[in-house]
């Protein structure tokens, strides 16, 4: 059995190999980073030094402009999450709709820092990718257009989601146990970290009625990523995005184990991204610092923001944009427990890597509650909500549902960093905070109306408060 140390060593070696190769390259050589050369993902709890090295490798990959020699492009494969062949080889390197549509992750995630959000020009087009539509059109009947989210604090978001999923699963198991023991149907409210996801009814024979769940998938897994809230983990999102946006295919989904081919996308490069590469990318994203609630130096702004934060709560905005959610543990396991085959998960490896985010300086600044839980200031609830109604359809522009989620249902946007990431809305088509607030409908109708009915001073105060949520 490999020891944790030897597995850690392999990760470190990979990092050094990248550096060594980079050093041996001539400045004008058109090669990028070393890819696919190692297959062992890190395992066990990493030391600060090992974690730092992995993060560095991840950043290298995040900003790398992948080229054809490294495997960029996918002439033989579509952008689909499930490996899907093109009907005809597509020799176009880039395509705006079906992708690949970027040479680097940082091509879009760069505002105001690497890993940040992107302007309207960086919008991506989400379609299932099974229809082999190679033509380029942004007509919404073919895809949903989405803005680029920032990734800061993503590690804490995933940890919150994992803890919530685990608690919901426990609620389900407890209800099933009680139903079986007492021989009666048991209705169980699905409440975790103060967020309600409706209820389930467990029956004595082990069946579960899921008709009353709210804002979550039927497997009770909180999927915190994407505007739609349909991606489980940074790892899953990374594997998806590397294929979609760059044509860089991860072996853990596109390799021979599942597709029978080392070069599924038929671009002449085999095993483009190893599990180690994906781990490095995950490590970098998971350890990105969180945005801040900045105290304005301007006294007038400070006063307005203070009033605005209270109004934000009293008008019901914080019902969904929860100012904070408590997190029990800062240990980030990768691969994680809730991914399924196709994304490396904890059942597929001897031991996941453990990144102790408490080793990072920025986590030590986060407030804690009386139980010692970290209070994650995300301004979100990790729940999906209906965002349109009969009166207000401004956020109802999409025509396609995504991964079983209705077209006008979206994940509550985490507002941390919102002052630094205009434009707003899932399509990035609102230029000001006032506009996006007034665009809310559906589940947010009451608080939106409260804002609309508020005095101009109160409205300005809320904006002043939101402008303190910055990425620096």
């Amino acid at each position: 059995m490999k020891t944790v140390f030897s597995l850690m060593a392999s990760a470190v070696t990979a990092t050094f190999m990248s550096a060594a190769l980079a050093e041996s390259m001539l400045p004008w050589e058109d090669d990028g980073v070393l890819l696919g050369g190692t297959t062992a993902a890190p395992a066990g709890e990493l030391s600060k030094e090992a974690l730092d090295q992995l993060i560095e490798e991840g950043e290298t990959l995040f900003v790398a402009k992948f080229n054809k020699r490294e495997g960029a492009g996918r002439p033989g494969a579509t952008q689909a999450i499930i490996p899907t062949k093109q009907r005809h080889l597509n020799d176009q390197q880039f395509a705006r709709l079906a992708g690949p549509d970027a040479q680097a992750c940082s091509s879009c995630h760069n505002d105001p820092v690497i890993g940040g959000a992107g302007d309207f020009v960086t919008n991506v087009f989400v379609s299932e990718g099974f229809a082999n539509a190679n033509f380029d059109t942004s007509d919404p009947q073919f895809s949903n257009e989405r803005g680029t989210n920032h990734l800061l604090g993503a590690g804490l978001i995933e940890l919150l989601a994992r803890e919530m999923s685990a608690e919901l699963v426990k609620i389900r198991n407890d209800a099933l146990h009680k139903a079986a023991t007492e021989g009666v149907a048991v209705k169980a409210p699905l409440v975790t970290k103060g967020v309600s996801f409706g209820s389930i009814t467990a029956l004595p024979d082990g069946l579960v009625d899921l008709r009353k769940i709210d804002g979550i998938d039927t497997d009770l897994v909180v999927r915190p990523f994407s505007q739609k809230g349909v991606m489980t983990s940074l790892r899953q999102f990374t594997v998806n995005a590397m294929n979609h946006h760059h044509g860089m295919q991860a072996t853990e989904r596109f390799g021979t184990r599942w597709t029978g081919e080392g070069d599924f996308d038929a671009d002449g490069v085999i095993n483009e991204l190893s599990a180690d590469n994906i781990s490095a990318l995950v490590a970098w994203q998971a350890t990105l610092r969180v945005p801040l609630e900045k105290v304005p130096e301007n006294a007038e702004w400070h006063a307005a923001a203070t009033l605005g934060k209270e109004a934000f709560k009293s008008q019901g905005c914080a019902d969904c944009h929860r100012t904070e959610l408590p997190l029990t543990s800062l240990k980030f396991n990768d691969p994680g427990p809730f991914d399924v085959a196709g994304t490396l998960n904890s059942q597929q490896v001897e031991a996941p890597a453990v990144y102790d985010l408490a080793l990072l300086e920025w986590t030590q600044q986060l407030p804690r509650n009386e139980n010692g839980h970290v209070l994650v200031p995300l301004f979100g609830d990790l729940k999906r909500h209906t965002m349109t109604d009969r009166v207000n359809t401004l956020l109802g522009n999409e025509l396609l549902s995504q991964r079983f989620v209705g077209r006008d249902v979206f994940m509550t946007s985490e507002l941390w960093g919102i002052a630094s990431t205009a434009p707003y809305g899932h399509r990035n088509d609102f230029t000001a905070l006032d506009e996006i607030i007034l665009a809310h409908g559906g589940d947010a109708r009451t608080s939106r109306d409260a804002y609309a009915a508020a005095t101009r001073e109160d409205q300005i105060a809320i904006i002043a408060f939101l402008k303190t949520l910055v990425i620096e």
């Binding site: 059995m1 499930i82 024979d205 029978g260 085959a341």
Partner: protein, 545 residues
């Protein structure tokens, strides 16, 4: 109408060199035999009459949704093993006494579960040397002999095959029983095959099977299966027969029109004469064209039949594509014995959850036939991307020196990975637990999966005849709920579908009356119940303790 098959067949017609097979790049399930630890002590024995048979019925008899096992014993008594496993745990069974006479418990060759009276308990049809038994299921795995109440005299034949279907809007099932050699006929056993029986329920208010129709001619049948071979919605009866004893016989397909006796398809109707030592039938739509393929186990080559380009909707012409697809399984794949194999139970199932159906074949010398392999390990042929199959029995761990007969590929511990039961002659039944793919550090989970339970209120409660279509991305998989086939072995319970890397799936059901359901959208790695007429699927969670 000429069936457009050529295009579809191209995916099947891939040459596969069995001798030079490369290791598969896919997960090979590690099957660990743990019958005795699981509490299953049972062997199938007996003289010549029990060289065939040795079946197992796999079904839930106590309402906990874990499959229980009814094992034929031949000269030994049949036994019922109640499943006490927990989700993902070691297999655990407890033998439970059957309230049947010693006479009825012995001379059992096979068993098939079927809910013939549409109540809450699955019933069992027991095939015997002599009187067959219709056992009406009750609570907690109790059974009551129902022959008299059903007007069925049980016969005196050597019964070796069974199939059931619900015709059109019938309340009760139509049954078929296949019989082997007529031991009382002059010149027996050569050329003296006993006729099979076709049993339509008589009356509507009270279930009776008192008007049997004899399937003549019959040719020493060893497996039968109602099948919708031409997508007509009308069942036909596919029968495989043992050429060892018949004279002038062949494989058969009976046309089953409502309210008419079955009629055998003839050569003038496109049915090609085929003579094999037919032991078992497995059905699957391997190329997803809506028309099923059939694997037929035999002595020597296994057949894989697909519709020929000359076929049309009234013309069941088949051709064999076993060689092209690498499923002939004609001799042992390991060891030094190069004599022909003897195949028995056969079943398609996705054992590694990669979305592609695999083929299991139980193997074993009839008794001491010198011209056939003595060491004849069971086959596990993993389905590949190009339609071909690759033998992995040895790597999987099922290449035991046993004489397999009946079997069941079924998830015994509700962990989403199919396990395996093989009834052996003389030696203990094999019960293999699928532990996932072996690695140098242990076992890892394989692909994603779904397990699906279909329900219809009041009539045909297990939805026999329903077709399930599961869509993940561009991949469509289909399954049909059937009772019959295999070798003396049947099963009822969850329908297992491997999903590979798909995280979710859309399910549509074509109910037995032909109606298609809407899409049911479900997440991978769940047990799902779909009830006809209900908008939402329910999830089921197996016991953990």
């Amino acid at each position: 109408m000429q069936l457009r098959l050529l295009l579809n067949l191209t995916s099947l017609l891939v040459f596969s060199n069995i001798a030079a097979a490369e290791p598969v790049p896919f997960d090979v399930p590690h099957m660990v035999e743990e019958a005795r630890q699981a509490g299953v002590n049972h062997a199938y024995t007996g003289p010549w009459e029990f060289f065939v048979g040795g079946g197992v019925a796999s079904f839930d008899c106590n309402g906990d949704r874990f499959p229980d096992l009814f094992l034929a014993g031949g000269k030994n008594p049949a036994q019922l093993f109640v499943n006490q496993s927990v989700a993902g745990g070691p297999l655990k069974f407890k033998q439970q006494a059957l309230s049947l006479s010693q006479k009825h418990l012995t001379q059992v060759l096979g068993a098939y579960p079927v809910n013939f009276n549409n109540d809450d308990h699955t019933d069992v049809v027991v095939l015997r040397l002599g009187e067959n038994l219709f056992l009406q299921g009750g609570p907690d795995c109790t059974f009551e002999l129902a022959n008299n109440g059903l007007g069925y005299d049980g016969g005196r034949d050597w019964s070796t095959a069974f199939a059931a279907t619900w015709e059109a809007d019938a309340t009760y099932p139509t049954l078929a029983i296949g019989n082997y050699v007529d031991r009382s006929a002059p010149g027996t056993p050569w050329g003296t095959c006993a006729a099979g029986e076709f049993l339509r329920p008589s009356g509507t208010d009270t279930l009776r099977f008192d008007e049997p129709f004899l399937l003549e001619p019959s040719h020493c049948t060893l497996s039968m299966l109602f099948t919708d071979w031409n997508k007509s919605g009308q069942p036909a009866l596919r029968v495989t027969n043992d050429r060892q004893y018949y004279r002038g016989g062949q494989e058969q397909l009976w046309r089953v029109d409502s309210n008419r006796p079955p009629r055998q398809f003839s050569s003038s109707q496109g049915w090609k004469r085929l003579r094999i030592w037919g032991m078992g039938i497995a059905e699957a739509d391997l190329n997803q064209d809506g028309f099923p393929e059939y694997a037929l186990s035999s002595m020597g080559d296994t057949m894989l039949q697909t519709l020929d380009p000359d076929a049309d909707e009234d013309r069941p012409t088949y051709r064999d594509v076993a060689y092209e697809n690498g499923v002939t399984a004609h001799r042992p794949y390991t060891g030094t014995d190069l004599k022909p194999s003897t195949g028995w139970h056969t079943q398609f199932a996705d054992l590694n959850n990669d979305t592609r159906l695999d083929l299991f074949i139980a193997k074993g010398n009839v008794e001491a036939m010198p011209d056939f392999a003595a060491y004849d390990p069971d086959n596990l042929l993993l389905g590949g991307l190009d339609g071909s199959f690759t033998e992995t029995g040895e790597e999987a761990g099922i290449a035991l020196d046993t004489r397999g007969r009946g079997g069941a590929v079924v998830d015994l511990n509700a962990d989403g990975m199919l396990d395996l039961v093989v009834v052996n002659r003389h030696t203990n039944t094999s019960v293999f637990r699928n532990q996932g793919a072996r690695t140098d550090w242990g076992h890892r989970a394989m692909g994603n999966w779904l397990a699906l339970e279909l329900k219809i209120p009041k009539t045909n409660v297990n939805a026999v005849g329903a077709r399930v279509s599961v869509k993940t991305g561009n991949v469509n998989q289909s399954r049909t709920v059937q009772i019959g086939g295999g070798h003396a072995s049947g099963q009822l319970g969850f329908i297992h579908i491997g999903l590979g890397v798909a995280e979710r799936a859309s399910i549509r059901v074509q109910w037995p009356n032909g109606d298609w359901s809407h899409d049911y959208r479900v997440f991978a790695n769940n047990f799902v119940q779909i009830t006809k007429g209900q908008d939402e699927a329910l999830y089921w969670y197996p016991r953990q303790h």
